[in-house]
Each structure stands twice: as structure tokens, then as C-alpha cells.
Amino acid sequence: MDKGDHQELLKQYTPMEFACCAAYKYCTNGTTVFVGVGLSLLPAQLAQKTFAPDITIIYEGGTVGSTAIGRVPWGVDDTVIQANAECQTDLLTTLGWLAQTGRVDLTYLGAAQVDKFGNLNTTMYGSDHTSPLTRISGSGGAHDLAVGSNHFAVIMNHRKDRIVERLDYRTSPGFCEGGRSRWDVWGFPGGGPIAIFTDCAVLKPNPVTYQLEIAEVYPFTSIEEVKKRTGFDIQVAQNFKFGELPTAEEIRIIREELDTTGDFTGWNKLTLFKD
């Protein structure tokens, strides 16, 4: 595909729509999926509306098995997800019991930075945690889910200062210091990051070194481009493939039912879509 075709694709789909459509396929019907809000909520909802109607969505605040009423939730504590839950419980139950005992199959997380071993920073940019250059949000429940969830997936932007050799702050553990250190040194119950879905590629851990590799590149870009946007010397996975185009049905559900305003995926800013 040449540069002109790339430009055409980005008039039809946004990079975050590619990320969502790649990420939702990692849900399995009948399992429990733990989500935050915004981009981390979209894949779970997309899966629920397509091939996985029987997943149970858990929000850390304690809301289990609800669907949003009327609009996209602004937070995990939004009233629009609190009216039709199967169960309302607390953080100690969601993050302490369910997540630490193998009862959360997949968690979708956001992150500001990820390092080569899939560890996450959601706390701050800078070198001194008591005087950050930029304060971000903090852990919330991310650390606990990264420790305990059977697997987690990350959805984030891909830039040199985001996908990095070394984190500014180590908020949540991925594969820690690499290799089997996550289990052999630290003994964490969960399986760590299954994949990082960025706005240009899917990164997955190498099965031996547990270092992230380029597993997929979306069809509007190239391996060289992805490498250029990565802050460490990233390898290409053995079973590398180019990502698929989102289907018409996936795009319809995202735009008409889930992210109706385009706040999360940015589809409302596409130029071609309007005509």
C-alpha cells in the first residue's frame, strides 16, 4: 500500500477505531471483563454487542453486570451505569477478591507510558515523584488489576515518549524486569499484559524475554513508521501480520451506539465521513 492509500484509509477510519476493533476480539463470551471508562470501555461494549453477549462487565467502584442507559458514562461512578446492575458491591470485593483470585479474565486499561516489559505509568511525567513536571491521574485501581487480573490489555497513544525504555514512574506491573520475573521474583497471581493496542500497532510480549514486539501494524501505516514512533529498539514478532480493516458493522456500532459523539475515537472529525 502506498502513502496515498494510507491517507485514504485515515479519511474513513480513525486510528483509535482500529485500536478498538483490534482490542475487542480479545474478549471471550461468558467471561468477566473489567473496564475503566472511555477508550477502555469501548472494546468490552463492542464485544458485548457482537459475538460476546454474555460477558459480565465489572466496574471497580462495585458495579457488576450493568449496561449504560442513555449515554456514554463519564466515569466508573456515573449514575447511567448504576441503575440496572446485577449487583452493587465495593472496591475490596472487585479489586481485592475478584481480581486477586483469578475471577477477572480480562481488564482493559489506559496508560500514559508503557515500557518495553509492559509496565505502566499512569501517575506522572518527570524525575521526582514529589515534584512532577506533569501530574496525571494516579493508579486508581490499575495497579491492583495489573497484579491480579488473569490478563490485561492496554489502549493508548503511540509516541516515542509514551512507549519507552524506562518509565518516569512505575505505577503498575507488567512483566516487571522481564523474563519470568513477574512470577518468579514477585509472585503475582495474574498473567500480565496480553497486548498493547496503540493508535498504529498491536504490541505483544515475546514468549521468552517478555519484551514487547510489534505483532500487528494497522493497514494505514508501516513497520518502519511504528519503529520510528517507539522509544526503544523494538523487534518484529515472529508471527507478525498486518491488521484488518474494521468491518462496516463494527464501525456502525461504534459510531451509532457506543461513541455517538466521537469523543473517544474522534470519528466526528473525519473529513470524508461527512459526505
Partner: protein
């Protein structure tokens, strides 16, 4: 049991001292003691309390905590999150941590599980508690520096029973005061929560004094009909402050939704002169409860109360005391 209803101003006067460690219940935009925080600032301004160095604890210190930080009365915060979720990062926390405006607070980062554990340990009168969370990474760095609350953080320990498992020993937190917003409470202090509980099961058991801010006061008969609905047992609660919409602009599931428009404009206006104007208007300009409601706006309140979550409160309407009855119960309060 005695009548524990207390006017808002009296509760602040009685329980909030300089260097008080205040635990705040709720979540970033849900069931927060916002009006309680405003009253702390109002009384400081009126000179009835002298406070300069509060210590705030909470999963999120929310809009109320933001206002306290903006007015420079906070020394340190122990929390997990400095964002208002979809509405954006807390500009006020960023200004303080990044630029020292209006003063540099000390910020201790926790995760939602480690903070919950620390609060629970304090509630159960344990000095520390082991945890899987908090073992790896920079959550182990203390952010409190040289304040009076400094301590070595998350000491690692191997299971003394020989499993080989590594845990972090998290130190208990023992707040002076815990402020928990609830939709319903009776005069005995039994707190009934609708919707997700967040931290509030343990926040309602933490601290020397537990204060509930309740949207509605209900007849104790409701507790007797549904004793399992009581999340926070009144027997351990010190005071109940009746204040409908006390969590605004945050929500109170079952009664009213989050005021998204106000939240967005608050984030946009939370620095410089627009912040000054905001605080003057929403913290200091009002006197009575009626003034407070007027600031939110009659039509706006109606819109907030038209919310899908109100279905949660429907079965309990018959036990809600009317405003006149609550006024009468409060009028007997003697400081």
C-alpha cells in the same frame, strides 16, 4: 439511641481542627462531602475555626478536596487518583504539585486496593495489613516527606508460614474524622447506600469520629424493615448532617445524577481569577440552605433528579421525612 442530627456548621465546628486527618468517602464524581468541605472554608473565613494544615485521605478527594487545596488549607493528601475522570485531570492538584500554587501539597500515592486495605486495617485496630498490591513499583515511595505523618512505606515481607509468597505490609491509616455522603440515614446514624459502595463500607467504619452527610433523613422504621440495607451501622457514627444535594456537583445514585455541565465548567475555570470568582460564588456567597439550592438552580435540580438511577430509591419513599420534620428534629440540637 439518641438523635444524632447536627447542623452542618456545628459539625464542622465540633470535629474539624487544624492538622485534622479527614477521610472522604465517595468516588471522583459520586457521593462526596462537597458541601462539608465548603463549610470548612466558610468557617475558616468567618474565624470560627483555625485551620491551615489539613491532611486529606480518600480514593478521590474530589471537588471538595480540590476547593480545600485551592484555598491553601491542605498540607498533605493520601490518595489514588487526581482526575475527574472523563471531565479531565484536576487542574487544582496539578497547579499545586507542579507549580506550588497556591502552595505545594505533599501527595502520597496509593492504589484503590492498598488505600482500602490501609483504611480497613485502621478500622480493625490493626497496625498493618499484608497485601499483594503495593509490592512492586513506585507506590512504595513515600510522598509525604518530612510531615508529621511520614513513615517507611510498604515494607516487603515473606509469608512467615512458609508459602514463599511475598507481600507488602501496608501501614494502617487512622483518620481523626471520616466524612461519608449517603443518600439516606436515620437519626441514629444508620447509613443506607444506594448504588456502588466504592470505599464507603470501610470509610463508614474508619476514624475516631464518623460523620454522615445525608441527602434524606429516613424513619428508623425503614431500618427495622430492611436492616440488611444499612451499610454503615449507626451505633458507631458520631453525627448526621442532613443536606440534600450535599454531594453536588457529584452525584448521589438513587437520588440525583452528576451535573456534567457544572463539572465541565468547573474544570475549565479552576485556575486564576475565574477560580477566585467560582470560589467566591459557590463557597462564600450563600448563607442559608435555600440560598445554596438557588445557586444550583431550580430547573437544574429537577433535571438532576430526573435520572435513571432513581429507580433504586423508589421502594423507600414512604420512610423519607419531609423537610419540616427534619427542621424540627434539628431545632433541638444544642452545641
Amino acid at each position: 439511641m439518641r438523635n444524632k442530627l447536627m447542623p452542618l456548621n456545628e459539625a464542622v465546628k465540633k470535629y474539624i481542627k487544624d492538622r485534622s486527618m479527614i477521610l472522604m468517602g465517595g468516588f471522583p464524581m459520586s457521593r462526596q462531602g462537597v458541601v462539608f468541605c465548603k463549610e470548612i472554608l466558610r468557617q475558616k473565613k468567618a474565624g470560627t475555626i483555625q485551620i491551615n494544615d489539613l491532611v486529606l485521605v480518600g480514593g478521590s478527594i474530589g471537588f471538595g478536596g480540590d476547593l480545600l487545596v485551592a484555598e491553601g488549607v491542605v498540607d498533605s493528601v493520601i490518595s489514588t487518583f487526581s482526575s475527574h475522570e472523563r471531565a479531565g485531570l484536576s487542574v487544582i492538584i496539578r497547579e499545586s504539585l507542579e507549580k506550588g500554587l497556591p502552595r505545594k501539597i505533599k501527595w502520597e500515592d496509593e492504589s484503590n486496593l492498598t488505600l482500602n486495605f490501609r483504611i480497613m486495617a485502621g478500622s480493625l485496630n490493626l497496625p498493618f495489613i499484608p497485601s499483594n498490591s503495593g509490592v512492586w513499583g513506585d507506590l512504595r515511595k513515600s510522598g509525604l516527606g518530612n510531615s508529621a505523618y511520614t513513615y517507611p512505606k510498604n515494607i516487603l515481607c515473606e509469608d512467615p508460614y512458609g508459602s514463599g509468597e511475598k507481600v507488602a505490609l501496608l501501614q494502617a491509616i487512622n483518620p481523626h474524622v471520616s466524612v461519608v455522603h449517603v443518600p439516606f440515614a436515620d437519626t441514629h446514624g444508620n447509613g443506607i447506600i444506594l448504588g456502588a459502595l466504592y470505599y464507603d463500607f470501610w470509610a463508614g467504619r474508619a476514624g475516631k469520629d464518623i460523620i454522615l452527610v445525608a441527602d434524606r433523613i429516613v424513619d428508623t422504621e425503614m431500618c427495622r424493615h430492611f436492616p440488611n440495607m444499612v451499610t454503615i451501622p449507626g451505633v458507631g457514627v458520631s453525627a448526621v448532617v442532613p443536606w440534600h444535594l450535599g454531594s453536588w456537583p457529584a452525584n448521589s445514585p438513587g437520588l440525583y445524577g452528576e451535573d456534567l455541565e457544572h463539572i465541565s465548567s468547573f474544570i475549565k475555570s479552576s485556575r486564576g481569577t475565574t477560580l477566585r470568582q467560582y470560589i467566591d460564588k459557590y463557597v462564600y456567597s450563600w448563607e442559608t440552605y435555600e440560598d445554596y439550592l438557588q445557586l444550583i438552580g431550580k430547573d437544574n435540580i429537577k433535571a438532576l433528579e430526573t435520572n435513571p438511577s432513581t429507580i433504586l430509591a423508589e421502594p423507600f419513599q414512604q420512610w423519607i421525612f419531609p423537610d419540616e420534620k427534619v427542621k424540627e428534629l434539628l431545632s433541638g440540637y444544642q452545641a
